[in-house]
Structures are given as C-alpha cells and as structure tokens.
C-alpha cells in the first residue's frame, strides 16, 4: 500500500515537473499612476519653503473664498476657537505653523502623515486621519488667508 502511494506521488510529481517547464509570467499590470489621471480627486504637489508669502493688508477676496470653503469642507471637524472637535481648533494656527506646513497639510495630507513628525503627533491625538478634501493649491492659499483673519490680522 505504502509503495503504491509512493509510486502515485512520484508520478504526480513527475507530471507536474513536466508541466512546469515553460511557465512564464505574462500578466500585464496596469500603471497605478494612470488611475489617478483625469480624476476629480486632486492630490497636490508638495509646497516648498518660501513658495507662500504673506502681505498686509489681507486679500479680502481670498478671505471670503477661504471662509466659503471652510463652511463647506472644514467646519465639520475644525472649530475657529482653540477647542478640538475632530481635528484641532484653528485659533492661533498661523502663529504656530509655517504657511508651507498648513498648505501641505491641506493638499498633501498623505505625504505629511507619512513624513512629518508634527502631523504624526496630531494623528496620535485625534485618531482620525485628516482627509483629502479635494482642495486645490489656490483654494488652500485662500483658506490660510481666512485663518490669518481668524487669528486677528487685518
């Protein structure tokens, strides 16, 4: 009996070994990057130090636009006081963070949560990932203008 099992196993092995010859991997992978092209969901490119400059007085047009975006996309998680809701309150944010940091947090949140220690610390506190809210670079800039107003600048 044992011999029989051995013989069968041997034949099976031989069969599979024979068939295994000429195996080639020929699946074609779709480019991952290709998927994100032509999409309404925007992932911004990194904002470098010095790209954002402030001027006074505030650009009132930007302040209004920033506030409108805040009402639609940010307010659900961020208060304008220093009280934490889902994410931290915005009071004083422009005094504590550099504009590039804020910009990248808005439009490049995945990069920030991967590499920025301060962003990572906030995630540990809030436990909800800051979402990509599909905000463009220009829109993010107007949000910062609104934050400056919220911090008392004129």
């Amino acid at each position: 009996m044992k011999n029989k099992i051995f013989l069968i196993s041997f034949l099976c092995a031989l069969f599979f070994w024979q068939c295994d010859k000429g195996v080639k991997k020929d699946y074609k992978a779709v480019e991952v990057e290709e998927l994100t092209k032509n999409q309404p969901e925007v992932h911004g490119t990194e904002i470098k130090e010095g790209e954002i400059t402030f001027a006074t007085p505030l650009n009132s047009e930007w302040v209004t636009q920033g506030q409108n975006i805040y009402d639609l996309k940010c307010m659900a998680c961020h208060k304008l006081t220093d009280e934490k809701l889902v994410g931290p309150g915005w009071k004083g944010v422009t005094k504590v963070r550099k504009p590039t940091w804020i910009m990248n947090m808005i439009i490049n949140v995945d990069m920030m949560l991967e590499s920025d220690p301060e962003a990572q610390k906030l995630l540990e506190q809030c436990l909800v990932r800051m979402p990509n809210q599909n905000v463009s670079k220009e829109e993010a800039r107007s949000i910062i203008e609104f934050m400056r107003k919220n911090d008392g600048e004129q």
Binding site: F15, F16, Q18, C19, D20, K21, G22, V23, K24, K25, D26, Y27, K28, A29, V30, E34, L35, K37, N38, Q39, P40, E41, D71, L72, K73, M75, A76, C77, L85, V86, L127, V128, R129, P131, N132, Q133, N134, V135
Partner: protein, 660 residues
C-alpha cells in the same frame, strides 16, 4: 437480480463508450501545470481585463477581473439592493418604476458594451430585462445604472440589448409575442391570429448616451431569441434568430420543434430608418416609462411616454428577409469581418454559416423559396457559406478571435469547439463543467477581438465547489486561447445566473473611473452644503432633516419634536472628498434599507416611525477609528405632543446644580 444488474451495467458502459467515442482523444480533465501562474494576479496588481457579466435572475450586473476571476462589484440594475440603498432611497426608487408600477426584480440576460466603428469605446454597458421588458444603460465611469427604458408592445425582452457598430441603436426583440393595440383581451388559442412580435430600435445619443425608442417593426408571432448587428460590409443590417415559427402557444418544447428549419431574420435597418425619416411609420398609443438618473442631482426621474412609431414591413418589402436556419436557432453571431453569420440550431446536427455577400446576391436576384407571413424567405443554399459538420450536440453561442477562428458552446455535449471560419473545419475542443451556455472572448462580438481567453458560463455546477446545500453558485471557467489548443486555467463562481458577458481591456475603463462626486457640483435639491446649513424643517406632517456626515459624526445627531404620524426624510450629504470614504446611514425600525452615500453625494431615506420613543441612528460603513461613535438619536413623541422641533450636534447639556 444479479444478472440483471450485470446486464444493465454492461449496457450502460456500452452506451457511455458510444458517447465517449464521439469525443476527441485526449480530453483534458486535468489542468496543466502553468495554469495557476496564468490566472494568478499578485496581491496589489491589477487584472488585465474587466469582465462585465450579466447577473441573470439576480437582475444585476457584476464586474470581475480577468484572468483572476475576482469579483469587484455588483451593480444594481433591475433589482433592489438594500446594501446600496438602490430601490430604497428616494433618489433611486424612480429607476425601477414601470408602466406596471414599481417592479423590484427582473432577469438580466445580456450585456452589450458600446462601440465606435465596431471597437469597444468604454462608455456604456447595456443590459436587458427579460421579464418586464426594459433596457438599462450603465455608465462605465461610475459603474452605476444611468438610465432604464421600458419597451412597449413586447413580452419577454430576450433578443436584446445588442448594438450596431457605432452604438446608433440598441435592439429589443420580443421572445414572447403578445396581443397588441386595442384588442388585448383575447383567447390564448387565437395566437396565430392575434399575437404579434416586434423588434424595437432604440437610438443612443452619441454624447450623453440617452436612449429613445426610435421605431418598432411589427412582425409575425415567432419567438425572437438572440441577435447581432452586421459590421463592416454588413453595417446597416441586423440579424435576429427566431424559433417557434410554428407559432405554438402551448407545450412549445414539442410544438415549437416540429419544423426542420426556423429562421434568422435579416433586417435592413438603414432602409427602415429611411422610411421612418420619410414619415412612413404609424403612430401607436402605448404606455412605457423612461427613467433617468441625473448625476448632478444624484436623483432619478421617471417619465411616462405614450407614443411609439411602428413600421409594418409588409408594406415596405425591402426591410425584412427570412433566412431558413436549422433547427430552433439560439445564437446568431456575426464574425469580426461582418461577412459571416453563424446560426446555432439547438436541435441541429450542423452549424450553418451564412454569407452576407451571398445574401445580398440572393436578394437582388430575388432568389426566394417562398414567403413566411407575407415576407420573403431566401433560399437556404443560395445564402449558405457552408456548414460545420458534426460539431457537437446542442450548439448555443459563438464568439470569435482575431485570427479567423470561431468558438461555439455546446450545451448537451458540454464542450467548447474551436473551428476555422474559412474552411469550416473543427480544430480543437475542450470539455466544460458542466453544460456551457454563453461564451465570452474579450472583444468577441466586435470588429477587433482582443482575444487571449474564452470564458464559459456554465449552467450546471454540481460537484465543482464545496457543496452548499441544494442551491449552488453558478460556475464560470476561464480558458487560454493563445496556443493552438484551448487550455483550462481557472474555475470561478458567479452571482445569479450569468448569461452573456463581455470583457474589455482594463485601461479602457480604469483611467476614467470616477472617484468622488464634487461637493461644489452637488445640485441635489436637499443638499446640505457644509455643516452650517444643516437643519430640520417641518412641512405639515413631513419632517425634512438636512444632515451631513463626515468622519465621524452626523450633524445634527440629536433630533426632537418628531411626532407619530410624521414621515421623516433624512437627506444625508457626505461631506468627504476622499476616494473610498462612503458613509452609511440607518435608523431603527425603518421599513426599507440603509443608505450608502458616496463622497460628495446626497441620499434620502424616508422613515415613518410607528411608535413613540427614542430611536438610534448610526453610520453603517466603518469609516474611521471613531466609526463606532458615529451615532445619534431621534425622539418621537405622541401626535398631540408639544415637544418643539429641535436639533443639535455637540451641545453638551449642563448638569443641573446639585440640590443643597
């Protein structure tokens, strides 16, 4: 007893050996060694093709990856889907409206992917409802049902939704003829006299995809089964297989199998189009629904249409011709060149292949063998390219590759047979497990087959998977057709009962796939554009809740002042703008389903509380670390209560001062 047993055994073995003698040598029952690698897609890698598969009696359409056979999505089309709120949300209910009222189920048989110049363009997928005759259009950017058009003057929309070369038309042919017009209450045995069939041509707008019933051709009461458009040289023609030329109305199994030949009906739709343009059609009063999903409002509308333009081909003799076809034909498939039309007679011993060129010659020389119901019947031999001899038993469907080969499924002998179109020689055959119905070669019905695989959609599963009681999954099988021999690579289970399917290269769809709905473009009448705008309004006994959801709370999440007898409409806007962050919404005791709201979308759940109390509501789709906290309450008071309507989120009640 024992002798009898031996006798029976010997007879059975003898019979079996007779059968197996018909089969070719070297039937592959085992899978060859490299199959696993060929069907393997490593974790994180993408499939090469989307396989868009009909869900049969589930009423839905399913999306698989090939070659892995992995299920990606089930698109609700003709049946309600509580998981997605389809047919339950106020926005989606109109999609399932018909002239018979709300119909929550149907039987989706065939898929047609839109083409431009006969080649897949990746815009839309069409599906037919066999029971309550309808055609649906699925947008391949959102993978959602965008439109459903009911077909009047029809019973059993089986011969559908096949398309012309540039998706000018989608067709709908009646499987079940019915009495039409004013005289519909008739004795069933007056079938021959009173029952009619129609084939409908539904125009498709090039840009928007919107469907409209362009015209119908009135025909004798045969059963129209399947169809294919001509392409290339035969563009402008459409071919429909028909059975029951006996026009039986009972026990069709026997009574519709009397004649040696039924027909493939050839329709010159370009000619028909000309007559319609010249105003030759008759306007008929009918009643059918036209349902459209407005993507910016995330809402469907249902409109009743009342007119159909009907053309009687007896008055216009150059539109319809009958091609005799043995016997009870099912599949009716045109090859990539458009020259050959393959008929698959379920009860026939041969596969007849007709030539479009010969058909044109026979028509111009009026080479008729007579007429059927006043329409000319072409001579079989005059239009025949040739017959595939002894191909197998029970041919059903034929698909094509780009190299001049055809693949025909055989239900009775459970096999796929590969044959050469030019000389009609069988070159290979493989068994299927078991009883194959439709086949799919990627691009098989187009001018440019992508080839590489053939998939068999089997009707019987039996022992292919672990048993799950009397009801088993349906079984599909993937074969490689790259070499001379077809090779079995993979079995994969499917939903419902897949009839036809198509497959399209992944990159034609993946690059256009929608990720989110933009909040800025949300035109829903009950959108809540930002938490600031959330509110609760009373209109008589309707309470409208303008609610938002974002990780991880609803606004408002405390609602009071609802009274017994009210209908509460939760209009939930998902404020997320991140791909793959839907939120769900459910409230205790709701007599419908949940909502599943995509980023940027607004959806509405109607709830009629039937008792007083406080009812929890919560997010059903795990959205964040604090998903479990995404919950709230609605208080329902008696009808005569004076609890004021109020709503809030995040207002913590101050504890009353302790009594001194």
């Amino acid at each position: 007893m024992c002798k009898k047993l031996i006798f029976y055994s010997i007879s059975i073995i003898a019979i079996l050996s007779l059968f197996s003698a018909c089969k070719p040598k070297g039937v592959q029952s085992a899978v060859s060694g490299d199959s696993a690698v060929k069907a393997y897609v490593p974790p994180g890698k993408y499939d090469e093709f989307y396989n868009i598969v009909s869900g049969g009696f589930s009423g839905q359409m399913s999306i698989y990856g090939l070659p892995s056979g992995r299920l990606f999505r089930v698109i609700p089309v003709f049946s309600v889907d509580p998981e997605k709120g389809y047919g339950y949300s106020e926005e989606s209910k109109p999609m399932l409206n018909t002239s018979h009222g709300f119909v929550p189920w149907d039987d989706l048989h065939h898929i047609a992917l839109s083409t431009t110049d006969g080649i897949h363009d990746g815009k839309w997928a069409f599906g037919n409802a066999n029971n309550t005759p309808r055609i649906a259009r699925i947008d391949l950017k959102t993978f959602r049902t965008a439109e459903i058009l009911e077909i009047p003057n029809s019973g059993g929309n089986h011969s559908s939704p096949f398309i012309t070369e540039n998706t000018e038309y989608v067709v709908a042919g009646t499987r079940f003829s019915v009495p039409m017009g004013d005289k519909t209450d008739v004795a069933i045995n007056t079938y021959k006299e009173n029952f009619k069939g129609t084939v409908s041509f539904i125009s498709v707008n090039k840009e928007s995809g919107e469907m409209n019933l362009a015209f119908q051709i009135l025909l004798p009461g045969v059963d129209f089964d399947l169809a294919r458009a001509g392409k290339g040289k035969s563009h402008g023609w459409f071919f429909f297989s028909c059975y029951n030329s006996e026009r039986a109305n009972t026990l069709l199994e026997v009574n519709a199998s009397q004649k040696d030949k039924d027909f493939i009906m050839a329709v010159n739709w370009k000619k028909a189009e000309e007559y319609i343009k010249a105003g030759k059609g008759m306007k008929k009063n009918v009643r059918y629904t036209h349902n459209k999903m407005d993507e910016s409002k995330h809402s469907a509308t249902s409109k009743i249409e009342t007119e159909a333009i009907v053309l009687d081909p007896k008055e216009f003799p150059d539109i319809v011709y009958w091609i005799p076809c043995p016997k009870s034909p099912h599949g009716c498939d045109t090859d990539p060149s458009g020259e050959y039309i393959v008929g698959s007679g379920k009860l026939a011993a041969v596969i007849p292949v007709f030539s479009f060129t010969k058909m044109q010659e026979a028509i111009s020389s009026k080479n008729y063998e007579g007429d059927y119901e006043g329409l000319p019947v072409l001579k079989y031999d005059a239009v025949l390219h040739g017959e595939v001899k002894k191909p197998g038993l029970g041919p059903l469907h034929t698909e094509f590759d780009a190299n001049g080969y055809a693949y025909t499924s055989f239900f009775v002998s459970s096999e796929i047979v590969k044959w050469r179109i030019s000389d009609l020689q069988v070159v290979d055959r493989v068994p299927t497990y078991y009883s194959v119905g439709h086949l799919c070669v990627p691009g098989g019905p187009t001018k440019k087959p992508w080839g590489k695989y053939v998939i068999a959609y089997n009707k019987i599963t039996k022992d292919r998977y672990l048993p799950t009681g009397p009801e088993l999954t349906q079984s599909a099988q993937l074969f490689s057709i790259e070499g001379d021999k077809m090779k079995l690579l993979l079995d994969f289970p499917t939903i419902g009962e897949p009839h036809y399917a198509e497959a399209i290269p992944a990159e034609l769809l993946s690059k256009n796939s929608t990720k989110i709905y933009k909040l800025e473009e949300n035109k829903h009448p009950y959108v809540t554009a930002g938490e600031k705008n959330s509110k609760v309004e009373r209109k008589g006994n309707e309470v409208h809740v303008y609610m938002t959801s974002i990780r991880s709370h609803f606004t408002p999440d405390n609602i009071e002042g609802v009274k017994l007898g009210d209908v509460v409409y939760f209009h939930v806007t998902n404020l997320e703008q991140d791909w793959d962050v839907p939120h769900g919404f459910a409230v205790k005791g709701a007599n419908n389903a949940e909502l599943l709201i995509m980023p940027g979308e607004t959806q509405t759940l109607a709830w009629k509380p039937e008792r007083i109390g406080v009812f929890p509501m919560y997010c059903t789709d795990f959205c964040s670390a604090l998903h479990q906290e995404m919950q709230g309450y609605v208080r329902v008071s008696p009808a005569n209560s004076n609890v004021p309507l109020s709503f809030s989120t995040g207002n913590v009640a101050k504890p009353t001062a302790p009594v001194q």
